[in-house]
């Protein structure tokens, strides 16, 4: 029993450290220290699956392998949303009396969970990620931490929060309350019914090398283990455990004083007799699976029919590295890691700017800042590769939008006084103050082919309405490299005064 206690503590400590680290990354206002925790983002399974082409493969193999050996430890050690639910459930124990704490085995909602899993798989394989936006545990955690946690941390520290979005806040608050209440009342219900990652890993953990199992010889059917299971997966009447739902929290093991329930090697010859929960009713299970598959197929076809086929005209800029709106939609789960990582606070959840499928995807607004020329924090943070990480020299040329100057609104034109704020902020000199004949003033002149759409000019333009703005591009590309001016070749040896 000693060893189980040790493992439980190891789980708790790892889970808490990981959870607080991730939370810190998402809500911290100081971008510097947070980057350490960024590495954890790379361990998340759904982003890894979506970003399988851009370095996610290793994580996918690792998580599947771990699950095949140890069962669904991922869900209780590494999944931030799972850990949050554990925290809520655990806190709930303090307000419950002994009787209320007891849990009882319930049957798995097989049809529903397989429906969701198959539906998601079909959708994703046809490049439709929008269901994952609302189902992926990591993405949900990120949305909640960013849109609830960040405003809160800014409020507490007294800094202003520039990436505020009321819609994102409300949506996140609803999700947060719903998930927390479910966890409080029903433990890991979300993980075992709705979460596609949980269901997928459940398919593997069913056959994992190590499993929790009841030893028919020593078990006295006292039901203590079943009463403490937050996954509701220990059926004491038949002395079986539904390992597809077990998240290997090991809480049950320390409850049993007789060693009647154990975690151990399960790939023995007599596998067919023990540890096969659905073994008694294979037909029913298969029927559920088939129904789900049929339903999911039909659902996916329907969803596909209603998705936007035409190219959406975007009215906001996409963060650098997104490529096209289609690509962004194909890979982004709206975890908002980029929102959290952007030091200029210009990345905000989109509302209708990218169409309904693009709701909450990251978009760029130059209201409170502009894109740093040497900055690629969003690309570094993105775990799915939706914002493609690229060499910094390539990032410096990435064209997110293109400049549009309305000279008649310009301060110099209107009032005849010097300004030049746009020229000052332009890192590529796509807008430059140039002399005009007959005046002693300099006026802005744009060279759109050089423009990278960083928004420095739009942000700083003092005219109302803005005389210079950036028009979003629905397809990002490389801007022309500016011709480097020759050095002025002057040698001086006097002060000139």
């Amino acid at each position: 029993m000693q060893i189980y206690g040790f493992f439980r503590w190891a789980r708790r400590i790892t889970a808490l450290a990981l959870f607080s680290g991730l939370l810190y990354f998402f809500v911290s206002i100081s971008a510097g220290a947070a980057s350490f925790w960024q590495a954890i983002l790379g361990l998340q399974i759904v982003p890894a699956v979506l970003g399988i082409a851009s370095g996610g493969l290793l994580t996918v193999i690792l998580v599947f392998l771990i699950t095949l050996i140890f069962g669904r430890v991922y869900c209780s050690w590494l999944c931030p949303l799972g850990i949050w639910q554990d925290i809520v459930y655990r806190a709930g124990l303090f307000v419950r009396n002994k009787k209320q704490r007891r849990t009882r085995y319930t049957k798995a909602h097989d049809t529903l969970r397989y429906f969701i899993l198959i539906f998601v798989i079909i959708c994703v394989s046809f490049g439709l990620v929008v269901p994952l936006l609302w189902l992926d545990p990591y993405g949900l955690f990120g949305k909640m931490a960013t849109n609830l946690g960040r405003p809160l941390s800014h409020l507490l520290t007294g800094f202003q929060y520039d990436a505020w979005s009321t819609a994102a806040f409300v949506v996140s608050a609803i999700l947060f309350i719903a998930l927390s209440v479910t966890a409080f009342l029903k433990g890991r219900l979300y993980c075992n019914t709705i979460c596609p990652a949980g269901t997928l890993l459940g398919l593997i953990s069913r056959y994992s090398m190590f499993r929790v199992k009841i030893d028919a010889g020593t078990c006295t059917h006292c039901k203590l283990c079943g009463m403490t299971c937050k996954s509701y997966c220990i059926d004491c009447n038949t002395a079986t455990i539904d390992t597809s739902r077990c998240v290997v929290c090991l809480n049950c093991l320390s409850k049993c004083s007789r060693g009647g329930i154990r975690y151990g090697f399960a790939w023995k010859r007599d596998r067919s007799r023990t540890g096969q929960p659905e073994g008694s009713q294979p037909d029913k299970n298969r029927r559920a699976f088939l129904t789900a598959a049929l339903g999911a197929g039909a659902g996916a076809v329907l969803l596909n029919r209603f998705t936007e086929k035409k190219r959406v005209r975007i009215s906001r800029i996409m963060p650098p590295g997104a490529g096209t709106l289609e690509l962004l939609k194909d890979t982004c789960v709206a975890c908002h890691a980029c929102v959290a990582a952007c030091p200029a606070h210009i990345i905000k959840p989109a509302l209708g700017e990218f169409g309904w499928q693009g709701f909450l995807l990251p978009s760029v607004s130059y209201e409170h800042g502009f894109c740093g020329f040497d900055c690629q924090k969003c690309q570094e943070a993105c775990p799915t590769g939706a914002l493609r990480f690229m060499p910094i020299e390539e990032k410096k040329r990435i064209k997110m939008g293109v400049v549009k100057l309305s000279l008649e609104l310009c301060i110099v034109e209107k009032f005849g006084t010097d300004c030049g704020a746009c020229d000052e902020h332009c890192p590529v000199k796509a807008v430059e103050m140039t002399p005009r004949e007959g005046t002693d003033k300099v006026f802005p002149k744009t060279t759109p082919r050089l423009c990278i759409g960083c928004g420095g000019c739009e942000y700083i333009c003092p005219a109302t309405p803005k005389a210079i703005v950036v028009i979003p591009l629905s397809k990002q590309r490389q801007a022309d490299a500016p011709a480097i001016d020759a050095t002025i070749d002057v040698k001086i040896d006097s002060f000139g005064f």
Binding site: G372, G420, E424, M433, I460, F495, F497
Partner: protein, 315 residues
Amino acid sequence: MERRHFLKTAILGAVAGTVGLKNMKLFALDKAASGKIPQTDAIPDMVAVMGGEPEQLYARAIQEMGGISRYIKPGMKVVVKPNIGWDKTPEFAACTNPILIGAIVRDCLQAGASEVKVFDHTCDQWRGCYENSGIQEAVKQAGGQMAYAHEEKYFREIELPRALRMKKPKIHESLIDCDAWINVPVLKNHGGARMTICMKNYMGIVWDRRYLHSNDLQQCIADAATFEKKPVLNIVDAYRIMTQNGPKGRSLEDVQTPKALFMSSDIVALDTAATQFFNQFREMTIQEASHIVLGEKHKLGTTDLDKLNIKRIRI
């Protein structure tokens, strides 16, 4: 209360003066073995030094100007205001040289300043500017502290009675609360204001930059410089200067390295001199950078350099 506190400290300082004096002398001898600190009547209106490393240039110039203790008294709260406008490394000359800033901060502390704060209301994202300019590191090593200036809450509204266009700007709190400040711009060309030197460096003490740009930039710069608390010294960093694509710059081709430094208490004269120095690289007049002329109209100084006692030194 603060003035009383300051006077108290000053008197205490005078009583226990001998120790301090010794330290100061030692320090001065240490830095510049040649020559003594000139007496009051021999101090020039302006010093221009050329041909050395930033620390050397500063040490020589401040010695000629009578030593830092002429300007910074023990117990004073001091602000050093460099140009940290852009997220660029020192070799791009977009921000004031960090070595120079470090030397000034160290000197002020050695003269007995109770604290030295350094800030700028940056154009690029502030953290990148503070870090990549090297100034944050240099200031910390010298024993000074960086002050935040990226949010409106660090700025307080004041009145500028002599101003024509910008009468009620919000000025950074550390500047309002300090006893003395030193203005340390870098010499650059500027797309809007044509030149950015000492007076233009005042833009970084104001919260609302857009106000200046939209209400006659040149006049507003001159107005800002009428801020009642004048810098005790203006120091122009011309170790590296930006001659084109300023004030942000695009590549190293925009940078020249004349290794010079100018120092004066007369802000208009110093801007005039620096513009004439710049003119050797690229044509520029104070009539174009008209805030300098407007500064003279505000009686902030003179553009007539012939009237001044200028000491020109080549190392």
